[in-house]
């Protein structure tokens, strides 16, 4: 006696058979979805590039975007060429090196 049941019968969900209209509609939706994802990638890339171009990546600077074109910590940072503050009561003349002695690192 043989088993009349076909092999694997009832074990798989039968594949959906879509009409040509359904396939065409799905294809169109997929194209729009793809374009939307591409648009998202482009927008994120654009914002990242603008942020990087505006950010100060030097040591000690913050990586915070600011609409004003600089970094949020601009006002807290001291320009490299600035002289350190003098002690209270000392004038620039007192702080200057004696005549004839050039500051260290000055050109000869």
């Amino acid at each position: 006696m043989t088993d009349s049941k076909k092999p694997y019968e009832g074990e798989f969900i039968p594949a959906a058979h879509l009409t040509p209209e359904a396939v065409a509609a799905r294809k169109k939706r997929n194209i729009w979805l793809g374009l939307a994802l591409l648009g998202f990638v482009v927008l994120v890339a654009a914002t990242t590039m603008i942020r990087l171009s505006k950010a100060d990546l030097s040591e000690g600077a913050g990586f915070y975007y600011s609409n004003s074109g600089g970094t949020a910590r601009d006002d807290e940072r001291m320009p490299i060429d600035d002289q350190p503050a003098l002690p209270p009561g000392m004038t620039q003349e007192q702080a200057a090196p004696p005549p004839g002695i050039a500051p260290e690192g000055a050109p000869e």
Partner: protein, 317 residues
Amino acid sequence: MTDAPAPSAKRYATASDYVNLMKPRIMMLVVFTAAAGLIAASSATQTPIHPLMAVIALFAVALGSGAAGAINMWYDSDIDAIMTRTATRPIPSGAVPREEAIAMGLIMSGVSVMLMWLASNWLAAALLAFSIFYYGVIYTMWLKRSTPQNIVIGGGAGAFPPVIGWAAVTGNTPLDAWILFAIIFFWTPPHFWALSLLAHGEYEKAGVPMLPVTHGAKATRLQMLIYTILLVPLALAPVATGLGGWIYAVTAAVLGAVFLSYAVRVFMSKAGDNDCTGAEKKLARSMFLFSILYLFVVFAALILEHATGLFFAVKGF
């Protein structure tokens, strides 16, 4: 025999169905008012914003508005199917499955908030997230079916865009931004109730407690008049704070006077009553359409002054 439609009658979703899911007409107004807030903030506070960042921020607002619209249509698909005006929407018409609508709404919510954060700052992103929650959850899921004050409180959701636009530029929300919020907040009841006076039978059929359904057309017309009386001087507040100049002042005053005349005429009519005439229905419809024009032109005046440099301060305030 079943009532199921024949396979050939099945409607397949097109891209426009997904666009309609985002309520594009509301989206236009939302983006426009957000742009007004953004441009006014940049000009009034002398804070420049990168043009592309501004465009992306406005796009994020549009996406957020669309996301809230999709969530609203997902939740309201049962009552949309009952009302004639909304029965052709993508979900009740069978074009878009409910689960796709909510998935789209949630994904777009996340994407819009993330884009806003990238393009501006955390405050604008947080305000955008809150406005989506306000419309999708507080208004749609809670207020709409539980209180006749649904669109008064729920109107807050639609009032956020100029505040978001302002925050996107400056990172804060000063009084001027909240004045723009208040203008839209007080504009919403007369705008929406003018429409619901015409469609209260539909709302009643769907079991939505709109004011004309619960308190009658007369009480609604009175409320519309009260909110319009509050709106007209409020719309002139930007002149007092220095945000609006002469062009804005004249525009807001003239359009406010016309809006008020509509509200008075609707109040004195029987619009929304069972025995109202065709002319009275037409009057309510005209007020609804004028209210849209009012908001567009008032915010356009603000944009014109701040984007083109045609700002002439009003002395004496």
